[in-house]
């Protein structure tokens, strides 16, 4: 093997990579919050909505879960301008992330709501709670507690999947790596370092979600 590893150029531009990692965190965080909102709204629709709404939400979830994220991204970023809807790469990335994560969250929240015992909901109605309060306190909160681990691992996987948005030149960690690669041609070294940065991010996300779990469900018990 005659190849000489040269990590010098990678670390010379390390601040660019750190900036990219920060953008990945921001993109993921906003995507998680918006995706969870869509998921809760979708879970509400599946549980409480009229029949046509339940079918529409089910179709949305199946269409998104059975097509690749990359193709969804291309459809929104390259396809929508043809219909007169133009947006920047960053907006398109965030929109696709929200739509995609929203579908997975809807499915997870729905599974959690289905696991809530019927008697609990009926007891709430018998006590005269409004439909909103029954949903909020007797369906959504217990459901979120049940499915918390599934949501947390979904969010970590989503953070890793944001690397794909570099393909429509939305700026984040992989985009920073590609940019540096095109300048220095130290492809292997750059991607090895960036892979380890993603690993660190994934571990940090996992630790963060464990901390949130402790704050919400375990503290003072």
């Amino acid at each position: 093997m005659a190849y000489q590893f040269q990590f010098g150029s990678v670390f010379a531009g390390f601040d660019q990579l750190l900036w990219g990692a920060w953008l990945t965190v921001v993109l993921s965080a906003v995507g998680i919050v918006l995706g969870l909102c869509v998921g809760i709204a979708g879970g509400w629709g599946r549980a409480m909505g009229p029949r046509w709404l339940r079918w529409t939400i089910a179709a949305y979830v199946e269409v998104i879960r059975n097509t690749p994220f990359l193709v969804q991204l291309f459809l929104i970023f390259f396809g929508l301008p043809g219909l007169g809807i133009k947006m920047s790469a960053g907006t398109a990335a965030l929109l696709t992330l929200t739509i995609n994560t929203g579908a997975y969250c809807t499915e997870i929240v729905r599974a959690g709501i289905e696991a809530v015992p019927r008697g609990q909901v009926e007891a709430g109605r018998a006590l005269g709670l409004s439909r909103f309060h029954v949903f909020r306190f007797l369906m959504l909160f217990p459901a979120l507690r049940t499915v918390y681990p599934a949501l947390a691992s979904q969010f970590t996987l989503m953070m890793l999947a944001t690397s794909v948005v570099s393909q429509i030149s939305a700026e984040e960690l992989t985009f920073a790596a590609n940019f540096m690669q095109s300048r220095t041609f130290r492809s292997f070294e750059i991607y090895a370092v960036v892979t380890l940065m993603y690993l660190a991010l994934a571990l940090a996300f996992r630790g963060f979600f464990r901390g949130v779990h402790w704050l919400l469900f375990e503290r003072g018990r």
């Binding site: 093997m1 990359l70 193709v71 396809g79 691992s153 999947a161 393909q167 992989t174 292997f188």
Partner: protein, 223 residues
């Protein structure tokens, strides 16, 4: 000259599905075999094997598939091997699938009561016959629905192979789009073709799960 997006172009996309199916099959078969070896190694009464497999799974589940593809795509070049994109893509996808399948199957094996292991040991079986003859046949039953579910993720994730230049459905869509400049129609058709591949598998997974009444399978959803 700009081409029309007509029947010929759609036919080209339909034909390109075979490369997506082929890459998925390679990744699933290879990943399944490696995953089986890793699953057995993890169960074995040998601590370093357990740590090795756990580390492997953490590494591949904690990094993006796109980075894994890049590492192998550029990594082979370092050794002076000029390999075609399909080799780099297959290698990355096999290792990726093995990590996720090992993790899914771990849960299925843990669902088998410990008494089964003890009974097998009481019959005088050694570790491999215990695993192969007693535990795995029972675990396979529970493992089928989430494994089919993961196959859907795998088919979708082969789309990333287009980024390292392997021509499959997504790449074919880009090629057609560059000739016709009708991205909305082109990628809508591409998405529909992926849906046609994945949705039957999703339905199958759900139906098997209901029939086996195994309850909630471990969720391994990759956008």
């Amino acid at each position: 000259m700009i081409r029309e997006f007509g029947a010929g172009e759609i036919l080209y996309l339909v034909t390109a599905m075979q490369w997506t199916v082929m890459l998925s099959a390679i990744a699933f078969a290879g990943g399944g075999l490696l995953g089986l070896v890793l699953t057995i190694l993890r169960m074995a009464p040998w601590r370093p094997g357990h740590w090795l497999v756990t580390g492997y799974v953490q590494l591949f589940q904690g990094t993006p598939l796109l980075m894994q593809l890049f590492i192998f795509y550029f990594g082979f070049g370092i050794f002076g091997w000029d390999v075609p994109a399909i080799v780099a893509a297959s290698t990355a996808l096999i290792l990726y699938a093995a990590a996720f399948l090992t993790d899914i199957w771990r849960g299925c094996i843990q669902a088998i009561p410990a008494g089964q292991w003890e009974a097998a040991r009481a019959l005088g079986l050694r570790f491999l016959p215990q695993a192969w003859l007693v535990i795995l046949p029972q675990a396979v039953r529970i493992a089928i629905p989430p494994t089919v579910g993961f196959l859907v993720q795998l088919v979708k994730n082969t789309s990333l192979a287009s980024i390292v230049g392997y021509v499959e459905l997504t790449r074919a869509g880009q090629v057609i789009n560059n000739a016709t400049f009708q991205p909305f129609s082109v990628f809508l058709v591409v998405a529909a073709l992926y849906f046609a591949l994945c949705f039957p598998l999703s339905l199958l997974s759900q139906r098997l799960e209901r029939r086996l009444r195994t309850g909630g399978a471990p969720m391994h959803a990759i956008p």
